[in-house]
Subunit: 535 residues, 2 copies
């Protein structure tokens, strides 16, 4: 215990980290449970690994990004580092558990990168990842298709209908294209990285990088342009099959076959229409060996495909101007924290990673990682525009138990406690004032601040007659139940449960993010509110 | 990406850490959600802080245990350490957020201590804490009583009815006792620590420590003995009120008054009968200023109050001998991993901690921390004895979709996918074989291994007629539905939901830990099983 009360503390969290509290924490937890529910629906089992790993486990997995790894101090004993992602710990776990030949695992946890933080864009040094991976040797593209089905379910249940695009490509097709166009083998990965920038740079800039920085022949670059412009689905695949130089390439042909299978399976899963086969998607990580995908939303990329730095846009901040635009997505671009946040989910097939730990235990894998902090920022910005009360509460309390009385009023503390006990026993979320004699307006204010939907009000005479008053808060003047209704104490919990169920079904089927966003959709056509939507 | 596939990895997790997977992870998550549900029912809001803090925030908070803090390496920039508990980060957050004058916050997260691990006893270097704290200046003992009510709700909902004891004491009473007995002021904390060992040492050994190690006058020690033997509830409080030397002491009198209030409030909360006022409870941490409490279960303390080291008992391992004892708790003491694990929850009032960060922001707090790893070990040991199938599944899949056929059988992969799509759309947890042409026995085996309760079976002729077979797995021979029932495809999801609901209501109301443990209770009177219950 400290004897010194030196007040020299630097009261902050470490750089690039933050506390999550109140409505932010609640909204984030709802996003987590929405995603976890989808994972479990597909037979996912949870894996939780230590926050730090032996340093040698992480070594050699992240290329030059290894410099971003947080190391623990050598305090005697093992040398450890904080995990950089959830994929390498999963591969380490698979290698350590040779009896597990196949698994669908999910992992929702924090990862650590000593990157330059950009808090306004949701880029932190400590941030969450939500990963789902399927490990095991199966018939081609079956688990790959299920991963993409999971991606669609997650975004549909988050209420993003029509607001997201799943770009899909295949490393084998892409590598085949590069070979056919004449890219020398040693330049395939660097040229692939350049192509990957087409979502934020114009073709002219990408071509410049290929030719001037990476020394590619200009004619080769021009041949690439034709291919990487391809976007579509079955029709794109068919046109590629007609390209004889491409189908003559072994890698491209294998990729096209797998892409065809994938589309068949996605159709059987009812989600082929959610997918965009996008030849410009290349993904940064080297370890992908098959299908790759990335989910983008309207706010993912800078608004124009110029090479202007994103920071430029972010500097133009100011009051949010609620224009009469019918499209919510076009609003507030100037200081929208979700602008340019990059993809909201990404992944692909990686068949060789486990073998890096244990060559004899080669286990093919395919998976996806959801960027929850980005998903959170976008969802929160939407809810704030709408000032959605339900979603921005900091707790989930259903009932505030309060009391009032005339002169000689004791405060009825024990009676309030007893009523709370009844409600808790029935599983109802309830709180009460911790004051012995609270004033009625204070109690109402506390309930309102917490967004609590119902009050149970104890009056001395009513309670003596075995009754309490149940009052829905926030009803308009003139509502027949504005003053609440008297209920027998013995019937209180049933009455409260019935009213909660009714209220819930009125607002949304599940009172979840999806419900809230559906309300947002409905609001699009209404006149804009005048209040400032800033925090 | 690594070019070197040197196979020199040390494939393990760091010392004192472990991976959580399969049924362990699922059971632990159920314990988390049981606890979190209780927290939310009492208006708790989530707080999530970074896993590391600036080192100066942690400095001077943990006395000599500070040597157990994990430090991050200085990689340029701030100097940080992994958090040691969740209380100091909470106090730091309160000091940083001066607009928050009161809050009920919960936090479920990992903490880090470079202690000597004892895996068999659940003592790890990385482990979870579940904390609930109420901060704010309120009328005395009201939030304190709600914390104790929360403790009872948690253990009742975990199904520990009658298996746990909540010991409660008050620092002011204890300090008053020491003063009255003649303990010099500078010896009060050391003597308090000695008293705290009475749960694992005999009075003779504790007295020896007081007199020989800590230099207390033997007569003073003997006076203490009379007081610290006190256990009970209202009757103990009344007897202390009759002790005039004690009531003449200002600290003791204030403590007795608060303890009386606490008992009144616990009565109003309907949980006074769960509490044991125990004068020997002292708690190690110095920062407690008021009521203190600790929850113990049958396995918490060594079986005898001798000074024999706990290790001695743990060495006597061996096959678990399922005797005909009627009391499950008396079994398997020799190698029970839950033996001597210490308390399963503990806490108290600490009114001065926030002021250590910001003297002007003094905020009184009271809280409790649940030792989830210990709760997990005890719960798992019980379930293993019972070989509870439901609780030891590794995923929660409801339906396995399979197909079979005669010669020319295609495998019906797309049809299985389409049926899965229907089930997923209806929110039903479903999986299928990733093989194009799986054999029927393989599919049944996969379903059985996963503990999946239902199969939906596709046959070519039946499907052509728009029908599929729904089969509950694990039915006994001769059961009228042993071979399953044919269902119209259009009615499949309703049929499956109805059967799942029925099955769920048969096994337990909530299919949670509580339900499972209730089954265990029921099993107590049955004849013991002969299988070995070891892992």
């Amino acid at each position: 215990m400290p004897k010194d009360n030196k007040n020299s503390f630097n009261l902050k969290t470490p750089k690039g980290t933050k506390d999550w509290s109140g409505s932010d924490a609640l909204l984030r937890d709802r996003i987590f449970s929405t995603i976890a529910d989808v994972f479990k629906r597909h037979g996912g089992t949870a894996l939780d690994t230590p926050v730090f790993e032996l340093r040698e486990i992480l070594a050699g997995k992240y290329g030059e990004d290894s410099k971003l790894i947080y190391d623990l101090q050598d305090q005697g004993g093992e040398i450890c580092s904080l995990r950089y992602d959830l994929t390498v710990p999963f591969a380490r776990w698979l290698a350590m558990n040779p009896d597990v030949r196949s698994i669908k695992r999910y992992h929702i946890a924090k990862v650590y990168r000593r990157d330059q933080p950009a808090v306004s864009k949701g880029r932190m040094r400590e941030f969450y990842q939500c990963d789902f991976d399927i490990a095991g040797a199966f018939d081609p593209m079956v688990p790959d298709a299920e991963i993409l089905r999971i991606v669609t379910e997650v975004f549909e249940e988050l209420g993003w209908q029509g607001r997201y695009t799943i770009k899909v490509n295949h490393r084998k097709i892409l590598d085949g294209v590069f070979e056919v166009c004449g890219v020398p083998p040693e330049k395939i990965r660097p040229i692939s990285s350049a192509v990957d920038k087409l979502d934020k740079m114009s073709w002219a800039d990408v071509r410049k990088e290929m030719v001037e920085e990476k020394g590619l022949d200009g004619e080769v670059a021009d041949r690439i342009e034709k291919y990487v412009a391809g976007k579509g689905a079955r029709e794109l695949l068919e046109s590629l099959w007609k390209d004889e130089s491409l189908t003559a390439n072994a890698s491209a042909k294998a990729g096209l076959e797998e892409m065809g299978l994938l589309m068949d399976y996605l159709e059987a899963f009812g989600c082929l229409d959610k997918i965009s086969f996008d030849m410009s998607l290349a993904r940064g990580l080297d370890y992908y060996t098959g299908v790759i995908y990335e989910v983008v939303t309207e706010g993912s990329a800078p608004a124009v495909s110029s090479s202007a730095p994103e920071a430029q846009k972010l500097q133009k901040s100011g009051k949010k101007d609620k224009s009469k635009s019918g499209n919510l997505e076009d609003e507030d671009r100037s200081n929208d924290p979700t602008l340019g946040v990059g993809s909201v989910a990404a992944g692909g097939r990686y068949d060789n990673l486990v073998g890096m730990f244990l060559p004899k235990a080669q286990i093919p894998c395919v998976g996806v990682s959801f960027g929850v902090d980005r998903i959170f920022s976008i969802t929160k910005a939407r809810l704030e525009r709408e000032k959605s009360n339900e979603a921005l509460r900091s707790s989930e309390v259903d009932v505030f138990v309060m009391a009032f009385g005339g002169k000689g009023f004791t405060g009825m503390l024990k009676e309030r406690m007893e009523v709370c006990q009844k409600l808790w026993n029935a599983g109802i979320k309830a709180e009460f004032s911790y004051k012995i004699k609270p004033k009625l307006p204070q109690q109402f204010k506390a309930a309102e601040q917490g967004g609590v939907p119902f009050a149970v009000i104890l009056g001395e005479d009513e309670l003596a007659a075995g009754q309490v008053r149940v009052k829905e808060l926030g009803l308009e003047e003139g509502h027949p139940e504005k003053e609440g209704v008297l209920v027998e104490l013995s019937a209180l919990t049933d009455e409260v449960k019935a009213r909660l169920a009714k209220k819930q079904s009125q607002t949304s089927a599940k009172a979840d993010i999806s419900g809230v966003t559906q309300q947002l959709e409905a609001v699009k056509v209404e006149a804009p509110k005048t209040e400032d939507a800033g925090v």
